[in-house]
Amino acid sequence: MTAQAAIPVTVFTGFLGAGKTTLLNRVLTENHGKRYAVIVNEFGEVGIDNDLVVNSDEEIFEMNNGCICCSVRGDLIRIIEGLMRRRSRFDGILIETTGLADPAPVAQTFFVDEDVRKNTKLDAIVTVVDAKHLVGALENVPEAQEQIAFADIILLNKTDLVEPEELDAARERIRAINPVATIRETERCGIELSDVLGRDAFSLDRILEVEPDFLSSLHEHEHDDHVSSLSLVSDQPLDPGKFFPWIQEIIQTLGTNILRMKGIIAFGNDPDRFVIQSVHMLLEGDHQRPWREGEARTSRLVFIGCNLPKEALRAGFERSFAGERQHS
């Protein structure tokens, strides 16, 4: 008997009124050949009503003495358990969160709970933001910055309601928080659904695959956002004996201040790319594939977090170089 494939789970998050229910309804009503079970926070807004639409109550469990890293969404565990008894009836799961939801416990649920890990895989976190109200939301709603920070795909929606310079400012603000997410600019969530579904964004095989040239531009604009990002790049090979202790130490030291981290690492004398990612302190890494003939062996490491000690991180990265420092 072959094992059943893990069910992909897409999380829709975003600010109140940004358009995530519009997106959800498109997925549920358009003919794309896939069937979805849906976990919503409010019945009545979605375009279908059947037993595969389940209401959630956003119940957060602290699995370990209040530690944020070990917080999971109990309601999702319970609902997914129930859905798995009907798994032949759907191809994927969509989760819609409230505008005030912290995305971390949602993501962590898919790494911490054994049964959820076995039966499902987190496909992507899609954050819908309203181009008109982005700046206000970032300043007034703390969760807004975190929803952008955790996103793999950001729908910058309602672009028809803003002037080009407002759109530029919104794009820049998003990039300062999250330089690795794919940004899609939309009116009324008009996007190919294949651009938000089936992305496999949490797969180590696809780390930093999205927009691979993002590091060619600097996103060093300073804002008052408590969430920001740091991108480190080097063609100097890294020493695993220095890098692994360092990365584990900083993950422990910075703790919940790290929201997400992604990296592709080139170790000296290693034919393979090593890829790592973390959600808070949940850290995973593996060899990905051999470096290709003629491919630049460039290490890239991106931190997204609160109050990042950027100079200390840069210095620690450079101390992990296998040889003498060349450049960063």
């Binding site: 370990n64 070990c70 358990e81 709970d113 054994e114 890990r117 302190m281 060899h287």
Partner: protein, 87 residues
């Protein structure tokens, strides 16, 4: 050169067997119906403020608050007596 796999906590079949055993013990001890879900996880947080490896059992009965049971040892080392002691 091949590097060690330093981060991911591999889930062996032994661990799955241990988790299944704990689920059965919990169901029997609490006389749970099929409607109830029992989840067993090993939590090994990197936060220095957190205790060491723990086994966390969630008992989810419809219409009731979820009950969390914590045992201060790795999942594979949980014995029936450990569970009975905290129920």
């Amino acid at each position: 050169m091949s590097l060690r796999y330093p981060f991911i906590q591999k889930r062996s079949e032994d661990l799955k067997g241990a988790a299944d055993r704990i689920k059965i013990w919990t169901r029997e001890a609490l006389s749970l119906s099929d409607d109830a879900a029992v989840k067993v996880s090993e939590i090994n947080c990197r936060d220095r403020a957190c205790p060491g490896v723990e086994t966390v059992i969630l008992v989810m009965i419809p219409e009731l608050p979820t009950r969390m049971i914590r045992i201060a040892c790795p999942l594979a080392e949980v014995r029936l007596a450990d569970l009975e002691a905290v129920l």
